[in-house]
Amino acid sequence: MNVLEVRDLATHFFTLDGVVRAVDGVSFRLARGETLGIVGESGCGKSVTALSILRLIPPETGRVVGGSVLLEGQDLVKLPESDMRAIRGHRISMIFQEPMTSLNPVLTIGTQIAENVVRHTGVSWSAALDRAREMLELVKIADPRRRLQEYPHQLSGGMRQRTMIAIALSCNPQVLIADEPTTALDVTIQAQILDLMLELKEKLGTAIIMITHDLGVIAETAQRVVVMYAGRKVEEASVDQLFAQPAHPYTRGLMRAIPRLDAEAEVAGRRPRLQEIPGIVPALNQPIAGCAFAPRCPFATGRCRAERPPLIETAAGHSVACWETARVLEAAA
């Protein structure tokens, strides 16, 4: 059963340089209790997808122009703003990349957790503060009673991100959207936060959309992965399928760009040079004919530049948008 289904979502920004198609027809499903990874480089539209689901795109800059977002069958795109507010923080919550700036500097931690609880459950303020203390215990912040009285600047980056998780999970949401939740943290703290999120997911049964540019994070947390490029979904597969047999040239490029320090590379006596993907992400303020990755793709043909490739299922649960899949897989083998 899918808790969330995104169909043909399109979000455009209206700028002086023209219409920027930040998200251009993206679809995916999220099953109850599942973790779905969305991966891609900066500017591929993964954060905009997340903000579009919650309708948090500032209306003076851009808006969702097409598609639907179904939360248990209810289309959020068509919902009045007041109903949408009742869903945010309650049924769908979000945590953001920058723990240093995502909490309000002039309000106490307790206030920032409790206000979410009061807003969506209507309990008294003191009951909400009790709940806030419980949540701080749940995210393993020591001495929660004291922390409730403190302000964000008295907390470390890791603790702030734990606080964000506590806020996001305080009303037992069905969906948690995590937009690069560990990117701004130290590596050791990153692992702690990811472990915490997985543990809480098991405990609370929350489905997670994990947005990241880091395939390592995907490998550790997700069951399924959506790869995005230039506002479009280019590949979707289970984590095992994706790492075993990446089918899109862009996904393959991303994988080659991960540094390898493992034994296999050591034994071989050489550490392979990191390979970058040549070229840059296309400007999104002009319509892209054909495949958006074609200008950077070693397999590109005339057809790739002229016709947009449809998503084709290559194996059960593995789909890819590429005209040259056969050649790509052959080259890999």
Binding site: L54, L56, E60, M84, R85, A86, I87, R88, G89, H90, S93, M94, F96, E98, T101, S102, L103, N104, P105, V106, L107, E115, N116, R119, H120, Y151, H153, M164, I167
Partner: protein
């Protein structure tokens, strides 16, 4: 915190001392001779000299300064040259209208300016925002006396809703007191309102683009809570600063407003004393205004700590 306040209060002493030195010598440097004015138009040289000796103005300036300062620290501001009344008593008589006018102006300006600034920032680049900005530019550009006469013409002369001028002490009843304050407060407050509204809008705009506002929205909080708690509390420091600076501007505005509306306050006392070269009164008033200003700065600095928990003294 208490230690900080004590330290700051102590630090006001040298500031006030410097003000005292400046006040005393600047007045002595200003052209015009009080003795000649008091003695009258057809006074002889002897009678002017007699007046000068009586006032102690014939002594060396430095000696005059020391005598003045010694009395000052005992709370003695001297005696008016013309009326022979103690300066402290003259000021006490005039304090109520000025305090009433200043406070009602502040109240009107702040209560109007902050909401319209917040709404303008919230509805940025819409008709509402543009209307507020036009008002802000015009309000800031119009001199107090112009606004005052326009208001008098409309609301007092044409509509006859409010008195043209004058002041009724609060002891004579609340409504007569309030009635007399409305026009002068609005006239004096418009500039100030425009200033605070602009700063509120600018400060709110900056805050509204911050990550934590997006977080607040992602919790589905009501717009009022996001604007008035999450955003305004963060935007408050510059707003409070400008309110403080504005109080200094108000002091000069009070002089003009009291003249236009014929209100017997400290502003009028100042103008009259300056025109007559009544040194003791002018010195006393400047010192009082300076002390008020220093105290307001202190209050504002302390308020920062309450608005922003990251600020600690």
């Amino acid at each position: 915190m208490t230690a900080y306040i004590a330290r700051r209060l102590f630090a006001t002493l040298p500031v006030m001392a410097v003000v005292a030195v400046f006040v005393f010598f600047l007045l002595r440097l200003a052209p015009g001779d009080p003795a000649a004015i008091i003695a009258g138009e057809d006074a002889t040289a002897e009678s002017i000299a007699a007046v000068r000796a009586k006032l102690g103005l014939d002594r060396p300036v430095l000696e005059q300064f020391v005598i003045w300062l010694a009395r000052l620290v005992q709370g003695d501001f001297g005696v008016s040259i013309f009326s022979n009344l103690p300066v402290t008593r003259l000021m006490a008589q005039r304090v109520e209208p000025t305090v009433a006018l200043t406070l009602s102006t502040l109240l009107i300006a702040v209560c109007m300016a902050i909401p319209i600034g917040v709404v303008a920032a919230w509805k940025v680049r819409t008709f509402v925002d543009r209307a507020v900005m036009i008002f802000a530019v015009m309000g800031f550009a119009m001199p107090v006396f112009l606004v005052a006469y326009v208001l008098i013409y409309i609301f007092a002369v044409q509509l006859n809703w409010l008195p043209v001028q004058g002041y009724r002490p609060i002891a004579e009843g609340l409504w007569p007191f309030v009635e007399g304050l409305i026009l002068p407060s609005v006239a004096l407050g418009i500039t100030y309102m425009a200033l605070i509204a602009r700063i509120t809008r600018a400060s709110m705009l900056e805050v509204l683009s911050q990550d934590y506002i997006r977080t607040a929205n992602s919790k589905g909080l009501a717009t009022q809570r996001v604007l008035l708690l999450h955003a305004l509390k963060n935007a408050a420091v510059p707003i409070v600063t400008v309110i403080g600076i504005g109080i200094a501007l108000l002091i000069s505005g009070v002089v003009i407003t009291e003249t236009v509306f014929n209100i017997p306050g400290l502003g009028r006392l100042t103008v009259d004393a300056v025109l007559k070269r009544d040194y003791p009164i002018v010195q006393g008033l400047i010192l009082v205004f300076a002390a008020v200003k220093v105290l307001i700065n202190l209050v504002i600095d302390i308020s920062y700590a309450f608005l922003d928990p990251r600020i600690r003294y």
